[in-house]
């Protein structure tokens, strides 16, 4: 039972890590605190759901459509709604407040549209629901696939951000938006790109979630909060931190649900969150603020 709980937790944690990476890109680079992040995920989950149930397109193929759509939509939203705020903001604190207000509105728009189309019920679909034997316990194949996808996407992103010049430029904007223009980096453009990339990750997270969890039009806010908790646990802008924190959170939640009570998972999440905020405000792996 312990092994089975650990494996389930690892799957959940992989998803958390993936979506936290997207949020940390949007927040760390574009300085946008996106409260509609989870709703974006859910929209993508519905996208995969529709593709699978009405067109018979499996979610792996569905990703090929849903991820670019997430990128394009985020790119457009940034240009229309957030760029004006970013241009006007004299300092990043101002942009944070403005972006929270703007994306809070966006949350209800996305949720409202999803409610109109899909109603308030939980939905799910059955894809690759075949048990796979791992070290004596079984795990559904869709969960194994979810974990593999999350880790592959996360690793790919990490590699691109650390081993390519444009990835380094994205991190440079996160580190010092004031200094970035000194080397010819267009901060506006990079911010927009990073926000869109974050949207693509949210979309991929949504597809991954749809493969093994039930979800509903109003489930987004939980994912926003979880992603936020993981980002803060890992340290804002710290991708490896997000990966580790995501895995830890997934495992802790599953252990609490298995051995104590399912109702206490959220409480456990926030206990960890509080402890980090109080004792390690710059994250598990972050350096102390200078």
């Amino acid at each position: 039972m312990l092994l089975s709980a650990l494996l389930t937790g690892l799957v959940l944690g992989g998803t958390y890590a993936l979506i936290a990476m997207g949020l940390t890109l949007q927040y760390g680079v574009a300085r946008i605190m996106n409260l509609a992040y989870g709703d974006f995920m859910i929209a993508a989950a519905f996208g995969a759901f529709v593709l699978f149930t009405s067109l018979g397109i499996n979610p792996l193929l569905g990703m090929i459509a849903v991820i670019p759509a997430g990128f394009a939509l985020s790119y457009a939203i940034y240009g229309v709604m957030l760029q004006p705020l970013a241009r006007r903001a004299k300092h990043s604190g101002r942009l944070e407040v403005d972006s929270i207000l703007a994306t809070f509105g966006l949350l209800f728009v996305i949720q409202g549209v999803a409610l109109v189309i899909f109603g308030a019920n939980f939905v799910s679909y059955s894809y690759l629901a075949i048990p796979i034997n791992i070290l004596g316990t079984t795990l559904a194949a869709n969960r194994v696939l979810a974990l593999v996808l999350a880790l592959a996407l996360g690793a790919g992103l990490y590699y691109a951000l650390t081993h390519t010049r444009w990835g380094t430029a994205i991190r440079a904007v996160a580190v010092s938006p004031q200094a970035a223009p000194l080397v010819g980096i267009d901060v506006d453009r990079v911010s927009r790109f990073a926000f869109a990339l974050g949207g693509a990750l949210a979309a991929s997270g949504g597809v991954v979630v749809s493969m093994y969890l039930t979800f509903s039009a109003t489930a987004g806010v939980v994912f926003t909060m979880k992603a936020l908790v993981v980002v803060i646990m890992g340290g804002v802008g710290n991708l490896l931190g997000a990966l580790a924190a995501g895995l830890i959170l997934g495992i802790v939640e599953t252990l609490v649900a298995t051995y104590i009570d399912t109702g206490l998972t959220l409480a456990a999440t926030y206990l960890i969150f509080l402890a980090i905020l109080v004792f390690r405000p710059s994250g598990l792996f972050g350096r102390r603020p200078s």
């Binding site: 010049r165 380094t168 991190r171 580190v175 010092s176 223009p181 080397v183 010819g184 267009d186 901060v187």
Partner: protein, 247 residues
Amino acid sequence: MLEVTNLSLHYAQHLALEKVHLSLNQGETVVVLGANGAGKSSMLNVLAGRIAPDKGTEVSFLGSRLVGRKPHEFPEMGIALVPEGRGIFGDLTVAENLSLGAYVKHARAGEAERLGMVYELFPRLAERRSQIARTMSGGEQQMIAIGRALMSQPKLLMLDEPSLGLAPVLVLELFNALEKIKRTGVSLLLVEQNVKVSLNIADRGYLLEGGRVVGVNTAEALKQDPAVQQAFLGLPGAKSILPANDF
């Protein structure tokens, strides 16, 4: 190659620069001398596009107008600034900082050779290439900033008080490096309070006081000028032998 006319700048009500005229020829090294608050940093920040000057200001570089351009366009045009406080990416490694120096398109070709040149100029950077920049010493961070600027293959390199906070030995080392950079044909616009060393490397100098140019002359003449001595060495009563302002 650089022609500045009527450069004025207000911070709200405060007049920081008033009708500054400045020119710099290809391959020339020009130093701007001035006390604290004279407006030296403000001037370089305008020339690098980081602050918008007042209306009426004209700046041209190799025939194109600079006023109104976005700051990220300046490195693309061949203008690199090493700002006050260095402006390096503290959380990135030395090598990443240098690699970002070659972010502009025209600097991609020949990047490897230039990196070799920077490492030759500052061997310390070669030894520490994978160290996080903010954990380097002040002098080493200055080397990163200059090295990063060189990676963009600048035609004009502007440096804002590069010797600030460095030990005398390091200042000499730094100016030796600048001398070598100068010999590669890069034009230098240098802002300094360290009069002696900077006049040794410069061809010409401007004196800036209260936001106005109060003198301009060859470096040789400035070394002898009592006004320079008065302003920077605290000698009383000396009167400038220089023509004032309208240059």
